[in-house]
Symmetry: C2
Subunit: 462 residues, 2 copies
Amino acid sequence: MKSAKPYIEEHKQRFIDELIELLKIPSISADPAYKDDVFNTAEAVKDSLKKAGCDTVEICETPGYPIVYGEKTIDKNLPTVLVYGHYDVQPPDPMDLWNSPPFDPVIEKTEIHPNGAIFARGSCDDKGQMYMHVKALEYMTETNQLPCNVKFMIEGEEEVGSASLEWFVTRNREKLANDVILISDTGMIAKGTPSITTGLRGLSYVEVEVTGPNRDLHSGLYGGAVANPINILAKMIASLQDENNHITIPGFYDDVENLSEEERAKMAEAPFDKEAYKKAIGIGDVYGEAGYTTNERNSIRPTLDVNGIWGGYTGEGAKTVIPSKAYAKISMRLVPNQDWKKISQLFKDHFESIAPKAVTVEVKPHHGGQAYVTPIDNTGYKAASKAYEETFGKTPIPQRSGGSIPIVALFENELKSKTILMGFGLDTDAIHSPNEHFGIWNYLKGIETIPQFYHYFTEMSK
Amino acid sequence: MKSAKPYIEEHKQRFIDELIELLKIPSISADPAYKDDVFNTAEAVKDSLKKAGCDTVEICETPGYPIVYGEKTIDKNLPTVLVYGHYDVQPPDPMDLWNSPPFDPVIEKTEIHPNGAIFARGSCDDKGQMYMHVKALEYMTETNQLPCNVKFMIEGEEEVGSASLEWFVTRNREKLANDVILISDTGMIAKGTPSITTGLRGLSYVEVEVTGPNRDLHSGLYGGAVANPINILAKMIASLQDENNHITIPGFYDDVENLSEEERAKMAEAPFDKEAYKKAIGIGDVYGEAGYTTNERNSIRPTLDVNGIWGGYTGEGAKTVIPSKAYAKISMRLVPNQDWKKISQLFKDHFESIAPKAVTVEVKPHHGGQAYVTPIDNTGYKAASKAYEETFGKTPIPQRSGGSIPIVALFENELKSKTILMGFGLDTDAIHSPNEHFGIWNYLKGIETIPQFYHYFTEMSK
């Protein structure tokens, strides 16, 4: 297949402008206040797929936000690639830490992105990476080089647990039938070091509520005699990890996949500069489970993180109160073989069991997903590897990611096909953080690499 | 002195209406947004003192909110009573738990207040109790029965630590010269059981900030490898109390006054119904320091309570983030002999010392005050006791309160006079909580009892 470079060079300003328009819509799926924007984003994605050359495009209703489906079939006997992505984004807060409005994209040069990066919520996760596929399709159709069939399934609930995706997939197995699933919602090790994600962590997300007295109390009149739900919540959270940062929930590690020394040695070969890592996020030291390296802690080991906590008086000045309630949002990243529903139940049972009689505790499992590991000896992985060699001049490194794309396990079970994770973002792109950005070089490199995957996958499938 | 009952009966509707007008002004000293309301409340208090019969009334500027000063001198050779109170109130939040707007007073009957209670922020703490003194003065002047001189000092920063009061008192020793200080900012054991507060706890209020990474991070990509400031804050807070709920800060108990078995036995005589206590605040069990009763825990023992905590994502839905920062407001109630400045420093040193290298911690001491115990053999106490006997037909019980009125110790040092705490509120009045209220019976009983104090104090001082 011809290199897409000249076409990209000719159209790159438009490619950037189109993405910027998409980034202007605040499709925050977690916040009902943005409902209309989420729906409008689905419409915009539908139109872009139509323009890029799909014969069929539709907005598929679900119990939640709609899924945008697109399709271009050139020959039923040729392989079919199913592209998955999401058009919803994380909430932008804390707003005050953004250098520019999260939904008013700007292009700024950075040390890592000398050609500029687009700063906006969703620029990398996942509107930018999803849109690479739309533009790659445009290139292949415009130049009559599409070598196989392609289907798109772009959802709007990924950032809130893909609540409706299973519902949709199980009802549309025929429609979604494919030979390989292609997703760009992960990162690469470094600009000069392409990588293919072969493992993802699972997730169990829960919300806890601790209730003490039936109303806020004066901390002078009652202090010392009544359980303070914040103090109790802190004690309970603290007790979930021991001094080695092992998680103390009974049974939590029972199903954890333990890597062989060989596998760990192989992982250790991936380039990693601890000082640069510390400097990039401004920490005095790394911190985590005893006996594991930083790269192991954030990929092959499960975690327990409090993502949010609140209770009592949080305004200006001082208020001497014992609040009636305290709350926390807690998520656990899981590794292969850990079942997220089982872990959520273990958490609930344990957390409720350690609550003193002086308070009542409610644990609401939120959502979750299974971890995933893919072998590297299948056609999809090999085709992706060749594609990167073509455009980067280097063989990509297989890597385990600490992130979660719960639906990958779902696809394998329901659609019986492998998922290939071709990520073009960088860890420093600040996804889920203020000032999220996506390098223009990475964006265009993705558009250049994806068509090569179609080419090699079709070749190798013959 | 004649009973004030007939006069009160005749004017009670006006007494209630006047208080309700005062309660309508949201004088929240903790929140700068209410600055004008706080100043307007000072003006309203000034006018009420003028109307009640003071010859001199003035708004005294301070570095913070003004102090309202009023004075009526009938004879330099007669004793002088200095009345202290405050016109500022606690913030009303959580707003959604109020059954009626906090600054739109309503009168409702309750089980404990069959004659009705005024529901509004500040109704009991302290506008209502302060205003009893204004109306008591009105009675004594209108009926020409004021037996001695009286001075009023009503401040507007009590709920935020009386920041300017020391500044004012040390500059106005002459002006404030008195023979006894009278304060109604505490409670009584029960409607049928009058009590005089003889002990108050001190206070040390601090705010802590734990900083991890320099920006919010994706909990998948970084989870397990980076210290999460919320998890760390929870661990640090939890470590401040051991399994017996003893505070673990080195040196914290060094100066704590330990009561004799006799004193503890005497305290145990005060009527206390644990089941009713649990029922009133809806808790499954009491909770506190091992080896002490509920009444001891909330009066003669120091405490450590988290009054507010926040960090990460607290909005709707889920956000998988490791926040950059987590915060808590923490207050410690202190007992006689503990110096609040020393305790604040001990807390700061300890809290900073237990922080892991992976985070940075900042501790900001907010404000505080010393604990206080008053003997019961002085003229002021005896006069108050007689006054209660007159109006309640019962001898009041001396009681230690868990609350703090830091300025009481300040008065003793600077003005060399004893403070008498005649409180008419009930623990169930929900001060500092949603639905704060003050019984109309208690309000009028206070107005009836205060003049008797003036009478007996003057008599006994001869």
